[in-house]
């Protein structure tokens, strides 16, 4: 095995509790082996950028460009911000709006995911959270409430004819299942536009590398989704992305049945027997993230799906 340049702590579970997302500072430290590490907080995740260079100014500029891109995407598509583009679309109350190029591209991507997953991945499914709160309790919603909510779920109910979008009243879009991985790819692109050396971008465990440091490939540790921080998997990465979807601690338990937080948008009920976590390797983080999400949505079929599709993956049950 190639000697590790640096082990990256990859967390799928610890991210949410780390900090509260208010900070927008960028910290840069010089590591050994001529690698600069920049850390910041975005999209409810600790974010890290590793750049192999001797030029401190270049490292700062590149990291700043990446962080700015992450914050920009967060500002634009956060459902928690009143002034985000996404909130604007969700307030359109059935009116048709012309969307900008980037939003149009995200909608096209979401539509593709909806189609290839036969409706399993759906950016309109976030509204189900109104009846489902995964707080470890036994408060499973009444089937009638779930059915009422399902009337407002379904990408096919949107009128999407680029650049015109109509979100019917009562429906909502949520790009949460796409944006972090998309931000990783965009941040990496922002850096490689200025710099051609080895870079690794890691946003809360979803990561993408471009080029390996002189000392050897990036060594990436994938943690167990549960509490102990012992890496269950150590991977060498020179080029490409890893993304992880996890069931983690968010579930309901009633009558001995575990209701995981992955919801099937077609039924409004949790997917049965979803793996604890799925890590997928692919060329880009957006693609890897979507494959791991689709695998989770297949529940007990996750491994079979990934195997049949010829995807490189690591599944934890």
């Amino acid at each position: 095995m190639t000697p590790a340049s640096r082990a990256i702590p990859v967390s799928t579970a610890g991210a949410r509790s780390a900090r509260n997302g208010a900070s927008s500072e960028l910290r840069i430290t010089q590591q050994q082996n001529g690698i600069y590490a920049a850390t910041f907080f975005a999209m409810a995740s600790p974010c890290e950028i590793l750049i192999e260079t001797r030029d401190a100014k270049l490292a700062r500029r590149a990291a700043q460009a990446a962080a700015d891109e992450a914050w920009r995407i967060e500002r634009k598509y956060s459902r928690y911000r009143e002034d985000s583009v996404l909130s604007g679309l969700n307030r359109s109350n059935g009116a048709s709006v012309v969307v900008d190029d980037e939003t149009a591209a995200l909608l096209d991507f979401a539509e593709c995911c909806f189609v290839v997953s036969d409706g399993l991945f759906d950016v309109t499914s976030g509204i189900l959270r109104r009846v489902w709160t995964f707080d470890g309790s036994d408060r499973v919603p009444a089937p009638a409430d779930v059915d009422a909510c399902r009337a407002f779920v379904g990408f096919q109910r949107l009128l999407w004819k680029r650049p015109l979008l109509n979100v019917p009243a009562g429906m909502e879009l949520d790009f949460g299942g796409i944006c972090k991985e998309y931000a990783v790819d965009r941040a990496l692109a922002a850096i490689t536009a200025r710099f051609s050396g080895a870079v690794l971008v890691n946003f809360g465990g979803d990561l993408c590398a471009s080029g390996a440091p002189a000392a050897g490939p990036w060594s990436v540790g994938v943690e167990r989704p549960d509490s102990d921080r012992e890496a269950r998997l150590l991977l060498d990465l020179t080029q490409g992305a890893l993304a992880t979807s996890g069931d983690t601690h968010r579930f309901l338990m009633r009558d001995g049945v575990r209701y995981g937080h992955i919801l099937d948008p077609r039924t409004g009920w949790p997917v049965k027997d979803a793996p604890r976590s799925v890590t997928v390797a692919a060329g880009g983080c957006t693609q890897a993230g979507m494959l791991s999400s689709l695998a989770m949505l297949r529940g007990s079929e996750a491994e079979r799906f990934l195997t049949e599709e010829g995807v490189k993956f690591w599944c934890l049950r």
């Binding site: 700062r60 500029r61 700043q64 460009a65 700015d68 891109e69 920009r72 002034d83 583009v85 709006v97 012309v98 969307v99 900008d100 190029d101 980037e102 939003t103 149009a104 591209a105 995200l106 096209d108 991507f109 593709c112 995911c113 290839v116 997953s117 036969d118 399993l120 680029r162 650049p163 998309y182 790819d185 965009r186 692109a189 922002a190 536009a193 200025r194 710099f195 051609s196 692919a282 060329g283 880009g284 957006t286 693609q287 979507m290 494959l291 689709l294 799906f305 049949e308 599709e309 010829g310 995807v311």
Partner: protein
Amino acid sequence: MQLKKPGSVPTALMAASCALLGASTAKADDSYESDDWQVDSALLYYKEDQQRVQAIEPVVSLKRDFGDDRSLGVKLTYDSLSGGSPNGALPSHSPQTFATPSGASLQAPSGEPQTYTTSSGRVVALLEKVTLYTTEPGQLPLDPNFHDQRVAFSTSWQQRLGEQMRLSVGGDLSHEQDFMSAGLNAALARDFNNKNTTLSFGTNLEADAIRPIGGAPVGGTDYTQLQKGGNESKTVGGVLFGVTQVLSRRWLAQLNYSYDASHGYQTDPYKLLSVIDAGGNAVGYRFENRPDNRTRQSVFLENKLALGRDVLDLSLRHMKDNWGIKSQTADLRYRLELGNAMYIEPHARYYKQNAASFYNLYLNAADPAPDVMSADPRLGAFDAMTYGLKLGMTLADKSEVSIRLEQYRQNARDVPAAFGQLQGLDLNPGLKSFIFQVGWRFSF
């Protein structure tokens, strides 16, 4: 759920994510804050054929983004021009002698009498020390002592006003030996339809001081009388309305209307007209004289089309002024990407204009002299064609170098038939020039 073909999902997602990531790169990148200056520098060499004007022009422009769409731009230009500039007189089968505009730096050859004989045979006493130059038979009269240096400085500031509006303000200064200009401009742009539509409004004001070498000639007077006045001035004001529309993800169009009015001295103090008699002989010369007011309207349409990774840029302009000039321009560029770090951009431009109402190739000795008159070829009817090629390369440190080569050819139209002594002379030979430019863009 039936899965069509093994491997089809990753393939579809890869294609879709590539489309997603490629889609808005250019747009989003603009919003980056960078803690460095973007420098765009170029050295331009311009040369006209037949020993006419040549110019060397270095330009440096600096831009710094402060994030949140705030940016500062500064541009410095230096021009050095030399060579022969047509003085407006017609060529002749006899030698023609002219005086350069007098100035402190110009001396008459020592020992020569301070008089000269015009082609009509009159002996004229020179009021000041001037340098004479003689144009050989058959040649277009060029003032060979033309040289000038120009230094220009401009600066601009852009920022956002709220979420939808952008403001830019700027100023510029330009200095030449015989010309000074100061200007101010401001523009407001507002986005609509999720930034798919942008409306803009701009305005500019400019004040010029013209201090011709040897004084401004009294317009329309007999050249040999050398009636010269003092300094002159001009003011220019203009407005622009524009709309930019995203028509599809691959097509951006912009439509501008602009109106500007200038008032004051618009005459070229160094240009003459030949006075020709019925036999085609030059019997004298007059200083040109242009109207004091000029208003111009133009409509400009630009289309940018993304064709794969290549970009096609087609623009059309129609201009009309109250001097009777109407012009049309079509400009076509195609940026062809060659691999990841190189591009080649062919360029073609067609320009056509008709003559100003007071344009005359020469004055008729039998007719009374008009109030306003000019034989400046730039006010005559002509067609012009430009062909160019630009080659750009991105280096490892992300700086970009480019070279550009262009050829320009101007052909006069509606040239009156030569008669009498003018026969056999090329009365309006047009113009051929080329441009060579080296550019370097980097940040520090």
